[in-house]
Symmetry: D2
Subunit: 490 residues, 4 copies
């Protein structure tokens, strides 16, 4: 993904100035329509990854697989594809690739024939010692077919001396560090695993007699399945013909769920780790209004992610909520690289100001976050050009100052606006009359806490604080670029 | 397009229970980046037609053309395509096809080599005497290459005895009846024409020295062009190297602009016929709250078209506005035909209820219209299943009781819910606790009138009243199916 | 088609230094598998045109059509396509396009809805007054959808005042000049027409109760159909449910069948105008040996078109026939434009010398014709490099000195080697030790005549003599480039 | 590949009743246009495999790869592809897949990142202990990405404890049995290896300063490269910046080159193991005429593989050689499954009898081999229907009675005509008046031997004798189906 620049016009959703979740997973065991349900589940999780999707199924005898670049609806909507994915167990994956070179062999679930049978794995998260493990495995004779950290896990399983596949998986789990929610499918079991800190989400659901392991509750809603519970940090859930069993192979540190799932990643209709995402976002907006009031005529959301916080802000402040920015929902490819002639026109592919509404008004813009500041700058300018007399920007998260190493695509620190500038400078950069972020304690309050427990933070908030709960092995040893380099080698 | 049924799951935007505008047009004359700007303009008009798009350009010597099934962003975003569309004049068209058999030869603009040079035509609207004219032309030796009514116009131009192309076009205009906003490109001119009643929109804009004729002002905004004025009903606007000139070849009846453009078709950030679409929709919501109040906890829009009216309703009623229904924006293809197993699960591809919000609440749902009632039924049921204790439906338009013959795809009357049932029956059909539509006079009030002038209605509101301002020639003579049958012949 | 040059390596069959037939046609009436048989017939006629193919069928009520760029086997081999072409009558066409800009709308059969019903036309040949007629028709209001001369015929039919379609076709026939074998399909008839001179071939066959009109007898053989007779020059054959009838609407000049059909165009297993193509070619080789003997060790055909003549030459001369040049049958696309590095290597994509055979031998190469001389030059050089001590080239046709205007793609005279050079110079150009062509009289003898009747030649041999039997209307009036220019206009 | 049957009409070259070579390889080291030359070399080797092709290149730093289903000319002819394959070393492979399930991951060269660097391998041949090795490797933790025996070699290399890549390859070579000509590319070397019996061909060539390792000399001819020598059985040839070196790591058994390369697989313009293929085939035809004379009017080759032997037969017998069967060179896809209606017509997609020539004649048909007898049966019938009064079939190889396990796709013995029937029955089966095969000793004589040395045969002729020189490990242990089953598992 290149960063948004004057060099191209884009209406691609990933060219937003947003952080991007890297994946969504959906596994189901025990339903005659397993693959169709997996396709629907992945469709509900499309916001977690749109560059590629894959489903592996098992029919009692054989595995079947279909993977494709692009969205679920474009690749898994034909009868031909769904019928080819036979069986009552299926495992699906949506991928958002952090590198430009997404290729089909990097699409998950990945599958391998091991000595004790076939194994398919779908992974949400990021290992922090993948390169270190990769180098060691290659030296011992392993041959890799992809540059995904997920394949490291498969090789660890293949090289485990244990007999039962669950034990092999736990063996592998003992060697990896990082954030992961992992779902595996064997010829007889569906197995879910969550890292000991529980950074990435994973929920358990039920539909008739089938069990489901998936990233968010909205993937249960789409097929009318029942939400049972979140999988616990460090838990290994095994689903097979005899039902469900749980393992906790490691002593568990206190939970550190990713706070950004609440701020932006998860769908507003999902309930994650016990809280309604929509409620949290409205509460953040409300808290933001308490912390940073300003006199104005209108509260305007930056669509669509800023909308719940804007509603909360408007309710708290008593200033009317209005749609002052209209989003063109026909997002798609990057448009042609324009000539200078066109570039200076200030083309508005994704958003358009509602000039008739805004003209002559003092407006408060509410957005969920600022990453590099490029989009905010454009939006403030667009709103001014539409006649706003004052533009006040309010952000529903603290300043994003650090990169994520746990499965979220973040620009390097050098590109994070808040890592480079003070508040005033940021305000000047985006051209607003005022700029405020919710405070870190305010954020925790909106999530029902009394505030952030500095000694033992209730969430992973490393992107705001640099407080990384899980060791960054590759990064600390300078190995972190190894897989990336490998990806470029061929 | 088949009608939504239990037979398939669809997240296709056209499988909504909505009326569909048939087209958007964008012509530009006098800009070195004409084709790129046309592509951007069509992108902004994508909501008016998504099945196909085409652009014809002229470079002073030759015409160039590119047409494709699918969306603008998918087909006009490469440098290769845009570079192939050379020249400083370009004409583009988005198509929504009313019949299943959309094929490339039916994609506009259509082009013909006439005795006095090449002519490209892009058309928004529908002729009411196309079949009658088609039969006559064929009898006189014309050979048609498509089944579009637009081609009738081209043949009338080809057979005109006039010398100047503008006169040939006016000649053709004198023979056709119906609603149309037509933009033509010749080797020397860009010509816009609007039917005498001005049913379909057409606006004039300017960018640097270039003039633009397009369907909505939002297509000017996207490229930073200036809105000049609406083209008048019955007006012929000619743009060439010497500037702009206007012709009014026919005596004009009172204007009858399509009221549904305000209710649903146009983008909320467009200003059509002098009014902000967003303002009108909020005013409708407000009027709806005045006419049909009800005690409740939440006002919930049916996204996205019901949102402005819902904001208006909430403001007027003082009941909080909240996002109780979340839309999955990754709309796309029709999904696989599901088995009975899946169908009875009540899959929710496009919308999901925000259960955490709705549960235990009395809710008011606000939608823009009800056509067949299929979507409303599903949404009411979904909201109830999410725990709403009462569901009150409020509709931001009067009951849709008649088909449109002026360029909007409407089901036959037999399928229009309001043509078949009384209000109470409709309420029962969709399963709501109460159902109300805005009154016809209320609608006119929201648009700034004192009410509907029954003797001389200010708008075309035939879909609500059956009062058709333009003669339905083919329909009255039973010829209306001729072109349709022809389309099926090969 | 660009001419073969150092600029690219090509193994495309059309990059041969050969003249190219422009089309093959196949119509069948009265068989339940009409479309499948048409596809097979077109496959047998693939040598007459490989750039595009189309089939139109009629099922008693509707016409059905499928056209595609590329070969028959690539586009008409699926059940889906064949099943879509319903009905017991079908008309197919293979196209070789003379201009680079082959596009789908130029693929035949072309179809039009006329006042008296649908009409599909497939055409082999070339009208010599197409541009003149085209201009007149456009002035009278006709709109063309292609730049093919065939469409002129359709418009003449559409504008005919006659009632019966056969009469309309004869009406059109009375206005066109040129060489043509035309097959038309209406909802009730299959109609074949051959120009009065009978320049291009057309044969009548029978399979069970079905009649077939096609270009060559090999298209009858492939489906086991019986050859009945050649359609006569100037004949109109009408096949319908009541059987076959013939019309001769015009007084017939003496026949002038294209002599090049015998030399190169037709398949060696076809019998055309009463003679076996293979026999004629062997007889030409034999005559060539009589006229131009030379002492040598081997007779080597330039594969594959020179093979029958080489066998005849070898038999007559008593010198052994051997495969000294091996052809790579995996012909296909033009290869990448090579760098100078590669070009000077003398890459041999299509042919390779059989060095082990040739080395140290005196060889006679037999080829069917020389057009520009480019291929001959390469082949002589290749054979010398493989060790041949002497290379004698013998050509199975007289020198090609004039362009064809009757449906064969010929380079302009300026590019014809024999139009520019004397025999000796040609021999030097291609680098052979000796070069000889068969004499004009020798050619006629090989076809069973006593010699060429100069006053009334028995064949059209304009490419060797410049004696054009049919008036070149467009060419004489300078109109001949009009349609070509039009094709470039958009 | 399904076997030819009444169930479909096919003009696919692989639906011939022929044995099929499984691969062609081409490696080049030290030329700035390495990839382009590899593409041309593979084009010349297209007859050895047409289902897929791949090229891997190395540019001093990175490997580059492009693989595709289909022919070389269709996938490696664009500048974009060739330019992407940077570097002065390249390795290419043509694949003919023995199983229906050819998929892209099974296309060679296969590539792996090993501890000591990248390794690409292209393989012609077949390992006879691949399944046995595969099972052992998986048990030890290797993860396979394909079902090709070639990948076994890569894993053996990865698991070798040696340091230098050449030693690792020799280590692997010591563990595999079977027939193979293998070319490997590392970041610094091009390495060729031939199995100790030298069953499959491999030649060394030179172009300027670059060395080439490829399957046949015709791949040298196409780019004007010089033939140096055959690689010896058991030889390991290493090409790097310091030139060429040879290793013979194992004691060598007497050579057993595949005799069928001379009969059918190799191109007639290749020189293999010191003999001209064309000369050998003519000598076979001559010997066949000596052994099995018959009175007749014409000698007719079954095109194209029977042609050289037919020329030899004709020369020896004094009976004229003539083209009595014409082949349609536009071979391609399998045609539609015809209805019974069409099937009984006896459609002749690939061949047509030259009726004018054959009618009333006694003919000798010469073909290279009979596998299942299906094609021969059709051809004899076709020739009879064209009027031949006698049909004598002569076959340029001994009866094919055994399957090949060394890299040639053979039907199971149960489907080999000669394994089921005596000569007389075979003659009756194909419907000929007489049938003869060349004798085994006659075949050896045609290749310059005095006869077959039964104690130590000079060639591998297992397909005629069942005398398998290399142990069939998997077959003997019943493991031979393991990889095939695996291929079906997902």
């Amino acid at each position: 993904m290149t960063e948004p620049s004057a060099a191209h016009l884009s209406c691609h959703p990933f060219d937003d100035d947003k952080l991007h979740e890297e994946c969504g997973v959906f596994g189901i065991y025990g339903h005659s329509e397993a693959a169709a349900l997996a396709a629907l589940g992945l469709h509900a999780l499309q916001h977690r990854g749109q560059e590629a999707a894959g489903i592996v199924s098992h029919d009692g005898k054989h595995f079947h697989s279909h993977k494709a670049m692009g969205k679920v609806g474009d690749n898994f909507s034909t009868e031909e594809v769904i019928k080819s994915l036979k069986g009552s167990a299926a495992l699906g994956h949506n991928r958002y690739a952090t590198t430009g070179g997404t290729v089909l062999r990097n699409v998950q679930p990945i599958f391998a024939d091991l000595a004790n049978g076939g194994l398919a794995v779908a992974h949400n998260g990021n290992l922090t010692n993948a390169s270190t493990l990769h180098r060691r495995l290659v030296q011992e004779g392993s041959i890799f077919q992809s540059t995904m950290d997920t394949e490291v896990i498969i090789h660890l399983v293949a090289n485990s001396k244990k007999t039962r596949i669950v034990d092999c998986l736990i063996d592998a789990m003992s060697k990896i560090t990082g954030a992961y929610s992992l779902v595996s499918l064997t010829s007889k079991k569906l197995i879910g695993m969550r890292d000991p800190f529980g950074v990435r989400p994973l929920v358990l659901g039920k539909l008739e007699n089938a069990y489901i392991l998936t990233s968010e509750s909205c993937a249960l809603d789409i097929i009318g399945a029942e939400f049972i519970r979140d999988v616990s940090p460090g838990e290994v859930v095994v689903v097979d013909d005899s039902g469900i069993s749980s393992h906790f192979p490691f002593s568990a540190p206190p939970k550190r769920f990713c706070v950004f799932e609440h701020i932006y990643f998860s769908r507003p209709d999902s309930v994650v780790e016990g809280r309604s995402v929509y409620d949290v976002r409205k509460a953040i907006g409300s808290q933001l209004a308490l912390e940073n009031p300003v006199e104005a005529d209108l509260v305007i959301p930056v669509p669509d992610s800023g909308t719940p916080a804007a509603i909360g802000y408007a309710e708290q402040s008593g200033i009317p909520f209005d749609l002052g920015i209209i989003r063109n929902h026909y997002v798609g490819r990057t448009f042609i690289e324009p000539t200078d002639q066109i570039r200076h026109l200030g083309v508005k592919l994704k958003h358009n100001a509602n000039r008739a509404l805004i003209n002559g008004k003092r407006v408060i813009l509410v957005d969920d976050s600022i990453v590099r500041g490029t989009t905010s700058t454009k939006i403030v300018q667009m709103v001014r050009e539409a006649g706003a007399t004052e533009v006040h920007m309010r952000i529903a998260s603290p300043p994003t100052t650090h990169s994520c190493f746990y499965g979220v695509d973040t620009p390097s620190r050098a590109k994070l606006l808040a890592a480079q500038y003070e508040l005033k400078e940021m305000c000047a950069f985006i051209g607003a009359d005022s700029l405020n972020f919710i405070s870190l304690d305010g954020l925790y309050k909106a999530m029902g806490e009394e505030g952030r427990n500095a000694k033992q933070p209730q969430y992973c908030d490393a992107c705001f604080t640099g407080d990384y709960p899980i060791e960054l092995v590759d990064n600390d040893t300078g190995m972190d670029k190894e897989l990336t380099l490998l990806a470029e080698r061929y």
